[in-house]
Amino acid sequence: MPRPACTDRRGFLRLSLGGLASALAWPALGGARREEGGKADRFILIFLAGGPSHIDTFDPKPGAATGGPFKAIRTAVEGLSLGEHLPRLAEGARRYAMIRSMTSREGNHDRARYLLHTGYAPLSSVQHPSMASLAARDRRAPSGPSADLPPVISINGAAPGAAFLGSGLDPFLVQSALKPIDNLGMPGGVDRARYARRLKLLEALEDDYSTRGGGPEGAAHRDVVARAVRFMNAEALGAFDLAGEPEAVRAAYGTEEFGAGCLMARRLVEAGVPCVEVVLGGWDTHQDNFTRTAALSGQLDAGLSALLADLASRELLGRTLVVCLGEFGRSPAINASEGRDHHPAAWSALLAGGPVRGGTVVGATDPEGAAVVERPVTVPDLMATVAVALGLDPAGENWSPSGRPFKVSDGGTPVAEVVGV
């Protein structure tokens, strides 16, 4: 975990960094957030990278020839069963809604991941901003302890970025929740006074560069350095430090990287960071699907159920939307390597918090889990649902640099059963 670089961060910052630091905060792009009943102003995305087998997790098909060896277990919600390796999520099923009728057409990891983060299939002509960056734009704190933290943070893995919204809304990557964040402390052998002197000289060099006509590139670089320095000295930096959490809490989340990431996510939203993604990779189970899915399910079960319970007990669940999904599902067919292959036609997504109606089950797949047979939900529909939960207008437009308007959701309709519109 990052160690505090000095005891009086604020004083250091004011004293030493002058214009470089104070003039250039994280760009505050939006106005004050509207307080609305039930809308979430925090967003945690649990991303199951690789594409989890819906059949072995959220949409079990016991009895089907391709159902696999896992049993289905009953949950606290009538009509909802889960794969047997998700017992704690089964117990806490009243906290979340389950959409079992997700359907899309992107079966390539990168394209599907992009789609699930932005709501759009990748286009060569423009990069779309991720929903997290979009949501963070007018939900970030303009001041206060969290203002110096990046407004979008991605833990244990990278996430698609802010595109034309600007690098200030790009996710800051915490490579691993179990390791110190790279380069956040001052270099060895350099104390505060010396670091301040360095920055002062750097500022003079940048002044010269802009006087000589540094152009927009120079200004952007200067801005990004200022943000980095503010981050280094942020009061809320302790939110990344899990050491102060009671042993029992850490154990409940799971002590592996994913559980620690979920705990960090809770600490970050508590500190005021609007959007956090926690990545759990390894779901691309073309080989050994069942062994690997069982192991991953154990981590997911502990981390996600602890997160939901913890958020609820801290009265944060009402203002925090939690979404858990992967980029697609996996095929009913079991291949020669005991694996399941990519399957975008039918899969599941879990939503909780904010206005989400816990205990709801939406849609259904056929007896094999191959196709959606009831109430298909497209990715734009899901994005519209997420937008509504976060208090964003799904039809609201953003303008790309080339002047093309992009709606928050690409023609989707919010799933009323989930968010009650």
Binding site: D110, S124, G214, P216, M232, A371
Partner: protein
Amino acid sequence: MRAALYLNLVVALAAALAGAQDDGTTTADTSPLAGRIDELLAAAFPEGAVPEPPCDDATFLRRAHLDATGVIPSGEAVEAFLRDRAPDRRARVVDELLASPLHAAFQAMRWTRMLVGYDARLPVLRRDALLEWLRGRFEENRPYDEVVRDLITATGTNTENGAVNFLLRYAQSRREAAGAMARAFLGLRIHCAQCHDHPYEKWRQADYDGMLAFFARVGVRRVGEGEDMRPVVEVFERPRGQLTVGGEEDPGRERAVVFPRYLTGEGVETGPGPHHEDRRALFARLTTDPANPWFARATVNRVWAHYMGRGLVEPVDDMGESSVPSHPALLEALAVDLAAHRYDLRRLERGILLSAAYQRATASEGPNAEDRDRYLRRYVTPLGPEQLFYSVLAATGLEDVFRARRPKRIEQMKNGYLARLVVTFGDDMMDEILQFEGTVPQALEMLNGTLVNEGARVRPESTLGRLLQEGGRKDMDLAAQRVYLAALGRLPTEAERRRSVLFVREAASPREGFEDLLWALLNSSEFIFNH
């Protein structure tokens, strides 16, 4: 003694600069291609537009070194170039740079990234072997069409024939291979047609499958284990085998055998009977055939974009029918020239580097500041990851520090550095995001990371170590000048020199002062950008 020598040098340099009249852009052996480039660009200038004048010598030298070899020039090279008053000095530098081993190495780095990305998670993919194979080809300046054919048809083990590692990138995601080929060699994005028809280009799923079928007989088998415990595998061509689509794994489609068909329509017999054509050889031939409408244009566009900071078509790998080149006639002329000269990439590079367009000054103000695609000014670009890494090494002298005692340390530092800064996505395609457009992690790396901070230290053989050994404590003016030459590739202005000396004097020690000066220069916009 050394200090006095340096004083003489700087005085001489200043005198030479004061007397300089010509801009050094005269080329003894004029490149007709450069002339053609300038002619075709001028034909597309907006009415009344006047392009920026040539940049100064120091700027040119830094730019050409960064673009051709991926690393800034040494302080000594800058001094020598500034002393050189020969009218054809720029042309000579271009020829030296293009012939240098660093040029081949940098080119191989860029091509390796294009072909397999930075991701090193696949155990069978030996990225270093591919890099080394490419480096050898580029060093010999082998015709590029031949290089591409060799990559497509490669067989053998991943350790002995580095070229097979391109195909091995797709060993676990075979269906991606056709998309990767089209993107790398044809400048076409067809990979979305893997799952469905392309939304606005003409490509159908059937087109994708037809391209993929050329690779249906690629076999991969494990033949052992290397000393590094990683698998040694062999890529070979099986005598038979077909691509099937649909069926259980792909419920939307009927099960069918797909026969090879290139995007241009050529293909392989689809009737019954054995088909023993070497499918990959055919694919390679069709890719580099002079009649292929995309290959030469895509190649030209990539090279152009690298040197000029912007492709004639953007993005460079999306040259489909819906894209419009900024200069269609120029793109065509360069493609024709490339094909007519045996795909000699160095000839193309030389033409670009010697053009007036390449050597223009930047403009952040005035009428040309708004120019986005007329090449009226030099476009400022951030240094790429490798450029930044090797330039910090060069500026700080870290390369010399490690070369003697810990040669492996440089590789280790580079790998760690890239791992921190290059964000890799997904499992299938090479869509790494280069966070080099100015991001917080990059800034933190430069402010606090080991590369810059180890580099900006006084130690034997480092830039600062040598400087202090050679009398920098006594003659701080000269020392400051040398730090500027090493880091920014130019002499400081009078005001900059005075400020630097004052800064060092006020530090706790000259050692600390110089370390902090170099640190600040390396973090400055002037260092971070290629301009």
